[in-house]
Symmetry: C2
Subunit: 314 residues, 2 copies
């Protein structure tokens, strides 16, 4: 196989997994921050990580999500003796709940595909990224998928990669509040109940359906009523000092809803406008501060675009 280029750089945006009641089945790409993977052709076969992007991230290809995704992409292309080197630039926090591992995996898969001209399909790129994500966060598409394709997505069925991309209501902004804490996805998953009372499960189903309808029709009042997660948030909130205070502050400041991004610790809120977003962000910082927790916030658009090749010099 002849490399398509000598080097390629791919950006993949961060994302909010779960999106409130949408545990494992809804995700949303967030504009602004993301991870970048630069892939270059190497002489020796296989994948090498030259820079993991953070001193705490592994450089071993068998433990690095970008490299795992690159290896899976090579396998899905039918196996090749191509060699490539990766340099990762982390724009997303580690164990922050902003889809950092998924973004690195997606960028790793797409960079490998573009560098070597593998011609992988969207589904194969998802498979490659999921093979990596599964090692650190479980077999879930709710970060991988929006990071690759952008927007707000409903995953109808993970096994068949069947999803629907939802319209993004005009004016909608996402507020992310990142408290000075880390929470490994595995910890955030361990506290989820394995069994659910039927009425809780059915209530959650109704909320997910109502949220999806709210996005489809731009009905923000419905979104406000539907963002009511009774499965993941009650289980995870006790692990997250300051979350309850920050959520109460966000709602008091006019947020359309507020919940935990992925398994946390980042909290997200929906705002009707950029100005409302700034007010809500300030309220959330004050909420965390009242609980003795420092936090940083940002107000962003939903990213309509997913992963993309960056042109021009690094």
């Amino acid at each position: 196989m002849t490399p398509a280029r000598r080097a390629v750089r791919v950006f993949a945006p961060g994302s909010v997994g779960n999106v409130g009641p949408g545990l494992d089945i809804m995700g949303m790409a967030v504009a602004g921050a993301g991870d970048i993977v630069e892939a270059t052709v190497a002489e020796r076969p296989g994948v090498v990580v030259l820079d993991a992007g953070h001193p705490e991230l592994p450089r071993e290809a068998g433990a690095n999500t970008a490299a795992l995704a690159a290896q899976a992409a090579l396998r899905l292309a039918g196996g090749t003796d191509a060699g490539l080197s990766l340099r990762i630039t982390k724009g997303l926090p580690l164990s922050g709940g902003q889809g950092g591992s998924a973004a690195s995996a997606v960028a790793g898969a797409v960079a490998t595909d573009r560098l070597l001209g593998l011609g992988l399909s969207e589904r194969q790129l998802l498979e490659a990224a999921l093979a990596a994500e599964a090692c650190v966060a479980g077999w879930h598409l709710d970060n991988i998928l929006p990071s690759l394709v952008g927007g707000i997505v409903l995953i109808r069925e993970t096994a068949s990669y069947d999803y629907v991309k939802l319209p993004v209501p005009a004016g909608l902004r996402v507020v992310l509040a990142h408290p000075a804490q880390r929470l490994r996805t595995a910890e955030g998953r361990a506290v989820l109940p394995r069994e659910l009372p039927r009425d809780v499960a059915l209530h959650q189903a109704a909320q997910v359906a109502a949220m999806v309808l709210a996005f489809a029709t731009g009905d923000l009042a419905l979104l406000r009523r539907a963002l009511d997660d009774r499965i993941a948030e009650p289980a995870r909130a006790p692990l997250l000092p300051g979350f309850r205070e920050a959520k109460a502050a966000a709602l008091a400041a006019g947020a359309l809803g507020c919940s935990i991004s992925g398994s946390g610790p980042t909290a997200f809120a929906f705002a009707e406008s950029a100005a409302a977003g700034e007010r809500i962000a300030a309220a959330m910082r004050a909420g965390y501060a009242a609980a003795g927790v420092e936090s940083v916030t940002r107000v962003a658009d939903v990213s309509r675009q997913g992963a993309q090749v960056l042109e021009g010099p690094a």
Copy 2:
């Protein structure tokens, strides 16, 4: 309070509760068959049933759903010493899974309101009908609501009567197949699991959301993929001889999906056109017949209209 009329007749359509994965939270009014309640002013206060519409239905006001709803309507109007008599005409089968008790309750509430000019709100009518329905079928709006307001509905929250009416895709037809069997709602509910594995609950939530989106956008291919109930149907199918055969036949004949209407025994299927509906109906009869079960079928529109006053002579 002065009666608005001396007599009034109200028709309320039958309905499909649950609508596949939408256990307790989705319902759909079906055109054609329904129950009629004729209310007339009586001299003695209270509610009397002159004709229950079927020899097996109770004439005691405290056990008849139309009368229970009439009594609840009087209470919600602030209590009155009005007297009224009810004559019920059952167009829906008993214990058939076609929303017969709900239709009688809705017609009873609406007839009482119109007869006496009570001026009850939609929510009060729902409350009155639900008070009756709860005695026979549980605290669920999935038949009551479509029978009152028509269409296909998502119930976001039962406690607050918060719902959304969904668009009905053009051409969509409903096939109802009624096997020669009865199943009391209480029996159909008793077999439902009280606790659900988390992955089953989340899969179901994704299906409900995808179905709602399919109706909202007219995406019948998505409807076909999403009509996959892994909670109620697997629990109830063993109670329903011939259902599995009828469902397989419906799908083979091109149905967009097939499941149990309410808690059964009626099965429903979605068809893309009236002609497809007839083919599917024939296939379902043959499926039941192959299992030694007689059945009757009909092909109907979703009823955009809910309960309505019938004008003219009875």
